[in-house]
């Protein structure tokens, strides 16, 4: 299969994939079928974008990896999820965070009545390390998100959307993760704030070796920062490729960047993609 990303970062892990989601099916409430066999890989040190319209199943995919599904009465009914060679689909979120996989939820979900700094400190809950080490992590987060430092003693509920998004990412970084599942960081934010946040994500990726799986509706921005991308539609991956290729692909442009002439159609109506898909499978 021609699915493994071929970016430089992935060559090292070509033998053993880092995070791999294999043909996963997810059902909510025992009846609502949402993911119909999703497969994707994230290489070590990569930034992979998971794109698609509202309701496509991006958040569900991330939650199936972080196992936050259980709390929403969702279940992985088929397929498997591996991280660093071990099955992780039966683990609790607590286990997963300890193993280095953490999700930043859509809508930020800061603890509104806690201060920014208290929010960050809760991120280190699963770590059993010295105070000094946690202080070092806190300083690290403050160097990346300098805005948070100035707001450190404000109640998170009263900070701006951008600051809350930074707080949510910073809180996850406090867990000292290897792999961050980042759900719609751009949602509802002004373009320059989005840019600022993505720059920091890129920095965390290159300097702290944190890998990212990034769910986004904002295709254009996501593809500029990611190495590889998957496009999800109705619970299926309908297209995948190098971020640069996707960004220049005519269909992606037409359907997701709003550059085409007609309104948005479904990818499945596109003939040549169908051909490609047949060839893939």
């Amino acid at each position: 299969m021609n699915t493994a990303p071929t970016s430089a970062a992935s060559t090292a892990s070509a033998t053993a994939p880092y995070l791999s989601v294999n043909n996963v099916e997810v059902i909510y409430d025992h009846v609502i079928l949402v993911l119909k066999g999703v497969s994707l890989q994230v290489p070590k040190g990569g930034i992979v974008a998971l794109l698609g319209a509202n309701g496509a199943g991006k958040s569900t995919t991330l939650k199936s990896i972080s196992n936050l599904l259980r709390a929403e009465r969702g279940d992985v009914t088929k397929g498997s999820i591996d991280f660093k060679g071990a099955r992780i689909d039966q683990m609790t979120p607590n286990d997963l965070v300890k193993r280095g996989v953490i999700q930043v939820m859509e809508g930020r979900h800061c603890f509104g009545h806690l201060t920014i700094e208290e929010n960050l400190l809760t991120g280190a809950y699963t770590r059993s390390c010295s105070r000094a080490e946690i202080k070092r992590s806190l300083d690290l987060v403050y160097t990346y998100f300098s805005r948070l430092k100035t707001r450190r003693s404000s109640q998170a509920g009263y900070t701006s959307g951008g600051e809350q998004q930074m707080c949510a990412i910073g809180r996850a970084i406090m867990a000292n993760p290897e792999m961050v599942l980042l759900d719609e960081p751009s949602m509802g934010l002004a373009p320059q704030i989005v840019e600022e946040i993505f720059e920091i994500v890129k920095d965390l990726n290159s300097k702290e070796q944190v890998s990212f799986l990034l769910a986004e509706q904002n295709t254009m921005v996501a593809l500029r920062y990611a190495d590889f991308g998957y496009i999800l539609e109705n619970g299926r991956i309908v297209m995948e490729g190098e971020a640069k290729e996707l960004a220049t692909n005519e269909d992606v442009k037409e359907f997701y960047l709003g550059l085409g002439g007609e309104g948005r159609k479904s990818f499945r109506e596109v003939k040549h993609y169908r051909r490609r898909k047949r060839w893939l499978s």
Binding site: Q103, Y125, T126, G157, A175
Partner: protein, 308 residues
């Protein structure tokens, strides 16, 4: 004036205990969204378990009856029983009901309340028992000599113990890692889950703390009024305290407890004679009801932060 002060001080001292029990409510309510109606029954259960162990331990172990060894051993066993009760409650009653509406959980705790009372009486019998903490109920001498005010030594010591507990719980809540995690869970349990805070551990902790609080309150009230069924109702005075202070507020529980304690005693003494007495048992509820009309979120109720 001197008499007024005596009543006021006595009321405030008894209010510290209300504050302690109310704090048990607040912790559970904040961390798991459960309004724990069974808190009153837990107080009764705890006191009865303590007295029960005190009765049977000399026979089991050959220790001297009424000695301090029996006292502390009974205390430790009762504490362990309360913690086990808390853990079982969380595991058997509440965990299967996760994600259910608040009212369902509330109903479950009402059922639990009867269950706990039943178990306590089934195991230890239903007769009223005395409980001796070894603290005399006599006026504090130096206060009487210096300002001629009568304050019971028992009340003072009891309030001291409860006060220390209230303060340590408040500090734990505000400044420790566990306390922070508790507040995080209270704010947004999904987000807490997402950063790896195991909700079940947190729930076990709050139920354990609630059990501990129930034991202390049960022992103090039991020593004052005898260990009997009515303890449940004394403990439920925490309800008006919560309405006054706000269900989610730690300072609210403390201030509310003091207000209820003081006002019910003052009302009993100054208003009671005009209505035939006995108003201590219902006055807090009336006060809470009036308060509800004016300020439904309580004195210190947390405002919802709506900004997203």
């Amino acid at each position: 004036m001197q008499f007024f002060l005596e009543v006021l001080i006595g009321g405030l001292l008894s209010g510290v205990l209300y504050a302690l029990v109310a704090l048990g409510f607040v912790l559970i309510f904040k961390a798991s969204g459960v309004f724990n109606f069974a808190q009153g029954a837990m107080v009764f259960f705890a006191a009865l378990t303590f007295v029960g162990f005190q009765e049977v331990l000399p026979g089991w172990t050959g220790l001297e009856e009424g000695g301090s060894a029996v006292f502390w051993l009974a205390f430790a066993l009762a504490l362990v029983s309360m913690i086990i009760l808390g853990i079982l409650t969380e595991k058997i009653v509440l965990r299967p009901l996760v994600n259910q509406p608040h009212i369902t959980l509330f109903m479950a705790t009402i059922g639990l309340s009867y269950l706990i009372e039943g178990i306590a009486q089934g195991v230890w019998g239903a007769n009223v028992r005395g409980l001796d903490l070894g603290i005399e109920d006599v006026p504090v001498e130096w206060l009487m000599e210096s300002s001629n005010i009568l304050v019971s030594k028992f009340d003072l010591v009891a309030a001291g113990i409860a006060g220390v507990l209230v303060a340590s719980l408040a500090l734990l809540f505000q400044y420790t890692k566990i306390g922070r995690a508790l507040r995080a869970v209270a704010d947004d349990h999904q987000a807490a889950l997402s950063i790896g805070i195991p909700l079940q551990h947190i729930w076990v902790i709050v139920w354990g703390v609630a059990g501990f609080v129930a034991l202390i309150a049960g022992m103090i009230w039991g020593a004052r009024n005898g260990v009997q069924f009515a303890l449940t109702y004394t403990a439920l005075k925490a309800l008006p305290v919560l309405i006054l202070g706000g269900f989610t507020s730690v300072p609210g529980a403390i201030v509310g407890g003091l207000i209820i304690g003081a006002s019910e005693k003052l009302a009993e003494v100054y208003v009671g004679p005009f209505v035939g007495g006995g108003i201590e048992s219902w006055f807090p509820y009336v006060l809470a009801l009036l308060f509800l009309l004016v300020r439904p979120e309580g004195l210190f109720g947390e405002k919802h932060i709506d900004r997203v």
